[in-house]
Point group: C2
Amino acid sequence: MTSGASSDRQASLTDVAELAGVSHMTVSRVVNGTGPVRAETRAKVMAAITKLDYRPNSAARALVTGRTGVLGVVALDSTLYGPASTLYGIENAAREAGYSVTISSVRAPQRSSISDAVEILRRQAVEGIVVIAPHLAAAEALDAVPKDTPLVAVGGGDAALPVVSVDQYDGARRVTEHLLALGHKTVWHVGGPADWLEARERERAWRDTLKRYDAKTPRVVRGDWSPRSGYEAGRELADAKELTAVFVANDQMALGVLRAFTEAGIRVPNDVHVAGFDDVPEAAYMNPPLTTVRQDFIEVGRRTFRVLAQRISGELEHGRLRDLVAAELIVRESTGPR
Amino acid sequence: MTSGASSDRQASLTDVAELAGVSHMTVSRVVNGTGPVRAETRAKVMAAITKLDYRPNSAARALVTGRTGVLGVVALDSTLYGPASTLYGIENAAREAGYSVTISSVRAPQRSSISDAVEILRRQAVEGIVVIAPHLAAAEALDAVPKDTPLVAVGGGDAALPVVSVDQYDGARRVTEHLLALGHKTVWHVGGPADWLEARERERAWRDTLKRYDAKTPRVVRGDWSPRSGYEAGRELADAKELTAVFVANDQMALGVLRAFTEAGIRVPNDVHVAGFDDVPEAAYMNPPLTTVRQDFIEVGRRTFRVLAQRISGELEHGRLRDLVAAELIVRESTGPR
DNA sequence: GACTAGATTGTTAGCGTTAACAATGGAGCC
DNA sequence: GGCTCCATTGTTAACGCTAACAATCTAGTC
C-alpha cells in the first residue's frame, strides 16, 4: 500500500490527464514548462502527478524529439587515475547540463576495438561521443567516424577533430628545464609506450629542450605506464653512467623507478634527481615526495563537455581544434637540495 | 558522397522495406532474427540495410518493448582504484550481455545526493541499478528505493538488498593474524572514515582478532583513505609507545604512513611492520613493497552484474543476499624479516 | 487433384510523447 | 455591443518499432 500507486504499470501522460480532468497535452505542458497553464490547472495536474508517481517515458520522448539526452564516452583504461578523473569531470559537467553519460570501455588499444566501442554508442543514439584514448590506433579509428557525429577527443592526437588536453609539451618542457636548471649536464627519460600520443609529446618536448640547451640526448628507456615497468626501467638506469637526473613520463612509473633506485643504493635526491608527470594523489607522499607536472583532469573534463556541447548544438563545425589546459610544475623533494 | 546514403535523415525500417521491396515487418525479422525469412529475401534486405546504413532506433524499440537495455551505476568516488576497477568489471560483463551502462557519480556521500543519483537513473528508465557506495548514507538512501527496482550494492552494507563484495572481514582478519604471527604483542590500526562500511568491517575484524589472541587494543587513528591523511596518521603514530606493527585500512594511506615513518626515522620493516589493504598496482613498488590484501575488483564487477541480471529477469527476489569474493593476503617486504 | 500443415510474408494496432494547429473563453477597445 | 487579441486548453497526427494476428504460398499426403 505505497503512495497511491495502484496499477503495476507505470503511469502515462494520459493516466495523469484523466485523473486531473484535463487533456494529456496540458499535462505535457506542465511537465515541460512549455506553454501557459493556469495556476489552478497546474496545481491539479501536479497533484495527479504526485499521486500516480508519474515519470516521463524517456524513450517516447526521445522517439518524438529525436534527442536522447545521452552522451557516450569511450575510455581506454578507465582504471588509471587520469582517465578516471577526466571521466568524472565530463560526467559532472554533462549532468549539470541535463545529459547523462554512457561509458564503453576498451580493453586493448586496437583500431578495431575502438571502432566497435564507438559503433555501440552510435547504435544507442548518443548525441555525441568523447574518446579518452590518446593513442595512435584511436586517431585512426576516429578518422573513420562519419563527420556528422559530434566527436571530441581527450588527450593528444592530431586527427581532424576537436581535441581537449593538458599541454603535454609545455609540461614536459618545464620539468626538463627545471632539471637542467639544477645544473645537470643532461636528463634521462623513462618514456611511455611509443604508440601513446601523450608519451610522444612528452618525449618530444624532452628532446627539444635538451637540444635547445645543447645537452646530449641519452637513449630512452620505455615502460608501459605501470609501476612494474617503471621498476624495470629503474633497474636498467641504475647501471647507466653519468646518471644524475631522470624525467619519468608518469608518476606511477616514477614510483617504480624510485623503488629500483633504492634497491640499487642510489639515493634520491642526493645522488639522482627524479621527476614524474600527472601529480597523482600519491605523488606528494612518495619516498621522497615527487616533483611532477600537475594535470587538471577535472578541468579537462569540463572543457571537453563544453566543446562537445558546441558540436552538438551546431555552434562548432567539425574540424581540427585544440583546447589546451595549462600544465603546472610541482617541485618537491625528489629534485630538492642534495 | 558517402556509402550510398542519400537523405540526411536516418533510414527507418520502412525505408529499408521499400528499397528491398518487402514489408517493414520482414525487415524487422531479419534485423532481430525473429521468425523465418527465406534466404533470398534476407539477402535483399541485408543489401538494403547496408546501402542505407540502417541502424535500429533504440528509442522506438524501447518504447514498444518496455526494455531499454541500459543499466545504471552510481559511484561515490569513481576516481579511486577500487571503484574504477569495479565499474570497469561491471561494464565489461554488461556489454557482453548486450547491456550498456550509464554512470552517475556522486560527489559527497550524503543520503540526498545518493537518492538524487538513483532518481536520475530511474528517470532514464534503466533496467537495473548498481550502487558502488559502501557508505552508511547509501544504505539509508537505498532503503527508500521502491522494491521493484532491481538494485544491487557493491561493498559493505546490511540493507535488505543483494550485496556483492570482497570479504572485508576475512581479509582484515588475515592481515592482523599475519602480523600477530610475526610475534608482535599487538597491532595498531589506521582506520578509514567511520561512516564507510568497509572501514567498519576492517576495523571490526581487527578488533575481534586482537581479542581472540588476547592482545590489547590500541586506540584507532583515523584517516579519509587519502595518502595525505595516512601521512598525518603516520606522524601521530610515530610518537606512540610500543609501536611495532600497523595495519592500515588501505594502500593509499599506507603510503602516507610509510612516508611519515621515514621522516621520523622509523625503519620499515626493521623497526615497525606495516600492512595495507587493496593491493593497488603501486603496492608492490612502495618503499618497501607493501604487504596487503588483494581485492579482485574485476571479479566483484562480474558477479555484481550477474546478480543484477538475475534481479532483472526475476530469477532473484528482492531481499538480503551476500555474495562474497575471497580476499587474498599478499606478503611483501613491509612485514618481512627485520 | 484436393487437402493440410507449416513456412513465409503482410496488415494493423498501438507504445507514450511532442508538434502543429484548432477551439474556446475572457478582457480590452472603439 | 461587437470585435480583436491573447491566454488557455484541446485534437490530431506522427515518431519507428514490435506484437498479434491474417494472408498467402509451398510441399507433402492420400
